[in-house]
């Protein structure tokens, strides 16, 4: 979409001018975070090609290789498994790369879902106003009083009760996306509604109404671009939270099954061996998760400051 076509440069368009890139170039924290994130994401996305082993290839697993420590930890180590192996003899590094991919996938899809619902509700509520507005926002308020993780947990639990076991394991990834997404939409809806209320009163929207554009056209092509800035910040910060939600659910044992392990599943599996000394099985996936979320949060923080120059 052409930014120049909108009557007033949107927050997003304004941000992408030189100030934005300047602030990025001159923020070492943001740069490092972006590089780390890029590395982790690349390792995850291309895990099929990059990973030294295929953790799902049961034929290649040997119990003789189980609990190999990482290479810098004791004589028993094996360079074929740089970060060691788990109880099944699976290479931990490969497991982490595949696991990160699943974690990222769930997180991104969940936020995409929450964004879609949240933006739609927020635009409609803010633009329509009146009873529609109060009903939708009331719903958001009620839901916001519950912690997102609890909502996700309950939604997942209900779906678990409704679906047959075998089928459930197969679609668990989408169940998680739904559960986490539905737990996080109200924030987006509230932000979009707030901005929409402001934009609705501006002259350019009046003008668009006068020339007879339909409501949906005005909402999508005129108001939406102008509210995207704050939404982007919230989406970034919520992406980190969504990844944590997934990891938490999987850790609690109500998330992804061991046949389709995310970082959270790996940590849960490893947790059983913490006391017997095989710390690496849980610590390395844990570090990966922390680094991933930390770099997303750092970028989100920086993005918020960059879009809000008043805070500088």
């Amino acid at each position: 979409m052409s930014e120049a076509a909108s009557p007033r440069p949107g927050a997003l368009a304004r941000a992408w001018d030189s100030d934005f890139l300047y602030s990025f170039r001159h923020s070492p924290v943001a740069l490092i975070a972006a590089l780390v994130l890029l590395a982790v994401v690349a390792g995850a996305v291309f895990s099929h090609w990059l990973a030294p082993h295929d953790p799902f290839d049961l034929a290649s697993l040997s119990l003789l290789d189980s609990f190999k420590p990482p290479v810098f930890w004791g004589a028993d180590a094996d360079w074929a498994y740089p970060l060691g192996t788990d109880d099944q003899g699976r290479d931990l590094l490969s497991g982490i790369m595949y696991g990160t991919r699943i974690s990222l996938l769930v997180g991104v899809l969940a936020i995409g879902f929450a964004l879609t619902v949240g933006i739609t509700v927020g635009l409609v509520a803010g633009y329509m106003g009146g009873a529609v507005d109060s009903l939708l926002m009331r719903m958001a308020d009620v839901q916001l009083t519950f912690p997102a993780i609890l909502i996700a947990l309950l939604v997942d639990g209900v779906v678990r009760a409704v679906l047959p076991r075998a089928f459930h394991d197969k679609v668990e990834l989408y169940v998680l996306v739904f559960a986490i997404g539905i737990a996080r939409w109200p924030q987006f809806a509230r932000t979009v509604r707030g901005s929409t209320l402001v934009e609705r009163g501006r002259e350019y929207v009046m003008a668009a109404r006068v020339i007879g554009l339909t409501s949906s056209k005005i909402m999508v092509s005129h108001i939406l671009p102008n509210v995207l800035g704050p939404v982007l910040v919230i989406a970034t910060l919520n992406l980190g939270l969504a990844i944590l939600d997934e990891a938490t659910l999987s850790f609690l044992g109500v998330g992804l099954p061991p046949t389709q392990p995310s970082l959270g599943t790996l940590i849960r599996i490893g947790n059983d061996f913490l006391f017997s000394g095989e710390w690496w099985v849980t610590i390395f996936p844990g570090i990966t998760l922390a680094v991933l979320v930390l770099s997303i949060n750092l970028l989100g923080d920086w993005l918020r400051d960059a879009l809000n120059p008043r805070l500088r």
């Binding site: 959270g264 710390w279 922390a290």
Partner: protein, 329 residues
């Protein structure tokens, strides 16, 4: 004041009704309670009797009314998994969760607020930057990972503190407390830190950004121009204004502790409601789930009320009704 409380309570009723409706819908439609409770072998007569007993043969809204009525009396049905009344199960576990959440909340507030004030005032100091990095790590580390790391260091490697359970407890009729025994207190340390960490960093970041916002305001500038001391400006003028938004969010966050206690309790095998819920979700024990939902809703209504009252105490603008008559023009 009294009218204020009443109106807040009235506003809470629809919320409770809606949550009750959802939890009832879960109870009634998810996972067919009848077949679960009857098990494998049953006669048609037994089934009909159970359906009648559970009131499932009545119109939906009658069932809903019954359910709400029973809920009001603390009856939440029978757990499928443990075959015991849900209310008993919850009562047994409630003290553990409340003591844990309370300790974590106090910890989060006592450390989070001063850190936030400090970093808000000395924005560019070395210590303030260190706090900020610490807080960002705190927000990014999932609760369960913090718990695992603490266990690894303080229980497995150093062997200083217990890694699971609640230690010895003392019973007072329905209440059991771990506050009064050494082993109870020792057991509380790691779970409380784990649970409080996220809230603490969140409170710190919130207080910091609010402080910075307020310190830029005209009235703080004017207070400087009046020659007031930095101490009075920072703590009298700035911090008090910071409190208004902080109270709201902190209130909600303290409520969020109950949600996160699910995770902490699982990591530390803490015998509270969170652990009960996780175990119940794993086997789709719907009565426990719906009872938990209702309970959390009640807690939140209570917290919201307290938040509103604190708000009322801090911000005179909400007290207009009392003074309006004395002649604001």
């Amino acid at each position: 004041m009294f009218a204020f409380i009443i109106s807040r309570l009235l506003q809470a009723i629809p919320v409770l009704l809606v949550v009750g409706f959802i939890s009832y819908a879960m109870f009634a439609f998810v996972g067919d309670p009848v077949s679960i409770m009857l098990g494998q072998d049953f006669t048609e007569a037994q089934r009909v009797q159970l359906v009648h007993q559970l009131g499932l043969d009545q119109p939906f809204f009658v069932q809903y009314a019954h359910y709400m009525w029973a809920t009001l009396h603390g009856e939440f049905g029978i757990s499928y998994r443990l075959a015991r009344p849900v209310s008993d199960l919850i009562l047994e576990r409630l003290p553990a969760t409340i003591e844990l959440a309370l300790t974590a909340a106090v910890l989060a507030l006592l450390i989070g607020v001063p850190m936030g004030v400090y970093t808000g005032i000395r924005r560019n100091g070395v210590l303030a930057r260190a706090f900020m990095i610490f807080s960002l790590v705190g927000v990014s580390l999932p609760t369960f990972l913090i718990g695992i790391l603490l266990i690894l260091v303080f229980a497995v490697v150093l062997g200083w503190l217990p890694s699971f359970g609640r230690g010895d407890v003392v019973h007072f009729s329905h209440w059991s407390t771990g506050f009064l025994t050494i082993s109870g207190l020792r057991s509380l340390v790691l779970p409380a830190i784990t649970l409080g960490m996220f809230q603490m960093t969140l409170i710190m970041r919130l207080v910091r950004s609010e402080m910075m916002e307020v310190l830029r305001s005209d009235y703080v500038k004017f207070a400087r121009a009046r020659g007031l001391s930095e101490r009075v400006i920072n703590f009298g003028h700035a911090l008090k204004n910071t409190l208004v938004p902080v109270i709201t969010i902190v209130g909600l966050q303290i409520g969020g502790l109950l949600g996160f206690s699910i995770v902490t309790e699982t990591v530390f095998q803490w015998p509270g409601m969170g652990l009960l819920l996780v175990q119940s979700i794993g086997v789709a024990d719907i009565p426990v789930m719906s009872a938990y939902l209702m309970l959390i809703a009640l807690v939140f209504v209570g917290i919201n009320l307290i938040v509103d009252l604190l708000y009322y105490a801090v911000d005179p603008r909400l007290r207009v009704d009392r003074r309006a008559l004395t002649g604001a023009r």
